[in-house]
Assembly symmetry: C2
Homo-oligomer: 536 residues x 2
């Protein structure tokens, strides 16, 4: 018997999961075909429902479906992808428990890797703004929101409190609008549990680059959405983009700075680095595909969903990057792979949009379905019903109905599940004139300047502050307070925008105790600074 | 007007939360009393329901209740505690967003800090066994369990696969039994979704130091529990303790090693470090309290729950450390603080147990209620009903009923939510004769030996392996593969038990790029090892 034909699908989003499901329908009964799916998670995220996780209206597992149940005949690899070798037709996966990479040879390869939230050209956004793509991102935003409210409730300084109760969402498309609507409802509802936080201090700001939100829909629906959001307290800034971010402020394209601890970014999209590095034709950030959804010039390489720059075979119109279209592309690719295996000709991909829906938060939405425009409660009902019918599997439908029903009856939850990943070594961005370290504060971090300059200032009672030094790239500060346990003995302020590598106290101490050489370096620095009276 | 009396409660478990709730009932209407509660989380965890999270029978937020709703008149601080100064009567909290500690002065202090899972005298247990105390621990175990099943499904080596499908639970008391029962049901139910994992390979092993599990209940119920668990496939090892752990094996007190990637430990308990360091009388690991629940010799210092070594004022019997008793102690402390404020005499704490319940997994339990012993389905129904009635708030009761009902109808979920904290710098423990690094593997970690010795072995085709070197404390290995991207060029095997500090690839590379000095050190080492032919 000949070797089976190996189909490898990369990515477990709508494009990848539905390709596997449709392939199983067409080829799953045949012994001469093997289907493999590589996905970071073992579940499909039901992306349109993700914003509902902010308020907790939906349970976490209700917004996702296990891939093993959706495509039981497919071999699932829940690993990261290390490399894609088109020449040798091998995908290499990152190691699991044992440090051995895993090679997956393929005959057909389907790339369904989506895109990522980009931050190019916006200093500090990568480091300080929260993306909103994955389930983890949604949970992180929920927890972060509750965390800032917890802190606001015990913060004595009103200016700092204001920073904590301000939320900035960048992008007025589908995601940005749904996130702003949901976040706004959530904070205004739960604030009553936070004594000491004045509800009138809450600010949710939506930044949008054009003069009407939801450009995907008609101006009429966009205006309706604007009115609903504004009435509920969302401040919309038109013709304004997010230009940069620090840990304590959003920097807008207008030059304005909004002091905040919470920035959510939904724009712009950047290509998945694996997709960007593939040596095949690209159309901007995406893979160029032909009318049959093959990557141009490659016979058995296919692309689906957000990473594919597809055009309708009939009209040549670009295909919108939504779940609806990813699913229909998946069906076409499954058809065409089955045809290729059997030596039949492929079919062209054609699409016609069924409609668009956007939720505006509790009991309001806008919809454009088969050319009919709806808004308000009816659109909201339609929005829930449509997504409910789309959920794979009866058990999930039942769970979601139950949650939605309970949600109508019960109060929103304010439990904060701490599930943040704690990276030991992070980058931080500071704008010009920011105070990084305040004399007298507790020393919790070590800083290494990557670019930019800071000044070291000694503040004294009854005397003007004195500049002790200027520090530049590759210089450290902050180690004194970490090594001696004393409070910060000087203030550090930026003279230019600064990027720095930051190491937390616990990791710093673990490092210096593990690496005696490092300890010597810092102790030497400590001595010399004491000597030169150049503190920190 | 005089300053208000400040009552500060440390810890948001049953003891702390109920003290706040009872204090609000007694003193919440008075302007001359301030109640503050310090808790790491903003919710009370309903501890007895935590094992149900393993299988996902309960939603996460159904097992917890927001502290702000339970005690709305109490000021909540969701911060870590840094120090307790009994002399100056000040508790210092760790900094929040800004690096400034927060001082909380107090008149009365209630210590409700519980205990922690200990690992003293068991090498490797701290590093490689999973504790099971918090909500996060339960979610971590669930995700870890799904992760090993995912890996087992794609692991070609049958020996390694066996390691992945073996689960060891240490401790045959309430928690250990409930965890083993729940985990066993869960893996045996979901394994059918994992093609390539043979259900007969699954092993769940429960280690118990005595010859009958559940010593808290009668021998009759203990034997019933043993029979149920054994029938469902749990292997129980009697008179056997967990003696140590590595990343790939549980070391038993009998000398046996069980190869496994999953060890859950429920014993022994160690004191919270903050409690241990308090300069007051201790009774073993706990605070010595008098019949009125004051810490001995301290007028306005109280202790409640697992951190208090309380005895019944009537009989002198030690008070069991269960939620039931913590709640009744909390009531007594609230009474006595109210009495102290009003100059009335305090009351003695007395208790009589209402009964004990332990779940054995799906639809079986054992119970001892008012002296009546129950087992099987009836005990299980009672178990659910009792805990349901204990849940604070109607909305939680409703949610839990719904989840339990759906759970009877629907299949168990296999979605793995990745929420693990990734520590950059971790400790690992290895037993004698273990291979730490295998020649030819991918280089993913740098090791620094803290104690013990390893040998460096070069394996060659058609020749016996050659020992190149022996490395000891404060020496590194593993940097070559990280710096050069080549596979491991030698094998490292332990000659003694070894403890090592381990740094992952990404963090190592971030570090050497941030600290040029460190880079120089490692590059020097690389050169010298090349020169001496002492690889790694």
């Amino acid at each position: 018997m000949a070797d089976p034909t190996r189909i490898v699908i990369l990515g477990g989003g709508f494009g990848g999961a539905y390709t596997a499901m449709y392939l199983e329908q067409r080829l799953g009964h045949r012994g001469d075909v093997e289907i493999a799916l590589v996905s970071r998670e073992n579940y499909l995220v039901f992306q349109p429902l993700i914003p509902e996780l902010i308020s907790g209206s939906l349970g976490i597992v209700d917004t996702i479906a296990p891939l093993r149940r959706l495509c039981p005949k497919t071999r699932l690899y829940t690993r990261e992808i290390q490399t894609i070798d088109l020449e040798r037709r091998i995908v290499t996966l990152a190691p699991g428990f044992r440090p051995r990479p895993l090679d997956l040879p393929f005959d057909h390869l389907v790339v369904a890797l989506g895109n990522v939230t980009g931050a190019a050209g916006m200093p500090g956004v990568q480091q300080h703004a929260l993306p909103f793509k994955s389930l983890g991102d949604a949970l992180h935003l929920r927890n972060h929101t509750l965390h800032v409210l917890e802190e606001a409730a015990i913060e004595p300084d009103p200016d700092v409190r204001k920073t904590l109760t301000t939320f900035v969402v960048a992008g007025g498309g589908f995601s940005g609008v749904e996130i702003a609507g949901e976040l706004n409802d959530f904070v205004r509802q739960v604030v009553k549990d936070y004594r000491g936080v004045d509800p009138s201090m809450l600010r949710v700001v939506l930044l949008h680059s054009r003069d009407l939100i939801l450009p995907e829909l008609s101006p009429k629906l966009g205006r309706f959405a604007q009115e609903v959001l504004a009435r509920r307290g969302v401040e919309i800034r038109y013709k304004t983009r997010l230009a940069g971010a620090t840990s304590a402020a959003a920097v807008l394209s207008t030059g304005e700075r909004i002091p905040t601890r919470t920035i959510v970014t939904t724009v712009p999209s950047a290509p998945n680095p694996l997709v960007a590095s593939l040596p095949v034709p690209h159309d901007k950030d995406r893979l160029k595909v032909d009318a049959e959804l093959r990557v141009e010039g490659h016979d058995r390489l296919w692309a689906v969903g957000d990473c594919a720059a597809a055009r309708s075979g009939g009209t040549g119109d670009p295909v919108p990057t939504t779940a609806q279209h990813a699913i229909r592309e998946a069906k076409c690719i499954a058809d065409n792979i089955a045809a290729a295996i059997d030596g039949r000709p492929p079919r062209m991909f054609r699409f016609e949009s069924l409609g668009s829906l956007a939720s505006l938060g509790r009991r309001s939405a806008v919809a454009n379905v088969f050319g009919i425009q709806l808004s308000g409660l009816l659109a909201w009902w339609l929005w829930r019903t449509v997504y409910l019918l789309k959920m794979p599997g009866l058990d999930r439908k039942l769970r979601v109905v139950t949650d939605w029903t309970l949600d109508l009856l019960l109060e929103q939850d304010i439990v904060q599940l701490k599930i943040d990943r704690t990276a030991a070594i992070v980058q931080e961005h500071f704008e010009k004139g920011e105070v990084i370290v305040q004399q007298g504060d507790f020393g919790d971090k070590l800083y290494m300047i990557e670019s930019g300059e800071v000044e070291v200032i000694k503040e004294r009672p009854n005397a003007p502050p004195e500049r002790l030094a200027v520090l530049g790239p590759k210089m450290y500060f902050g180690e004194t307070a970490l090594l001696t346990d004393a409070p910060r003995n000087a203030t550090i302020r930026t003279l230019t925008p600064v990027d720095a590598i930051v190491l937390g106290r616990g990791d710093f101490l673990a490092l210096v105790s593990s690496f005696p050489e490092l300890k010597k370096i810092f102790e030497g620095l400590l001595q010399s600074r004491r000597h030169e009276e150049e503190p920190m």
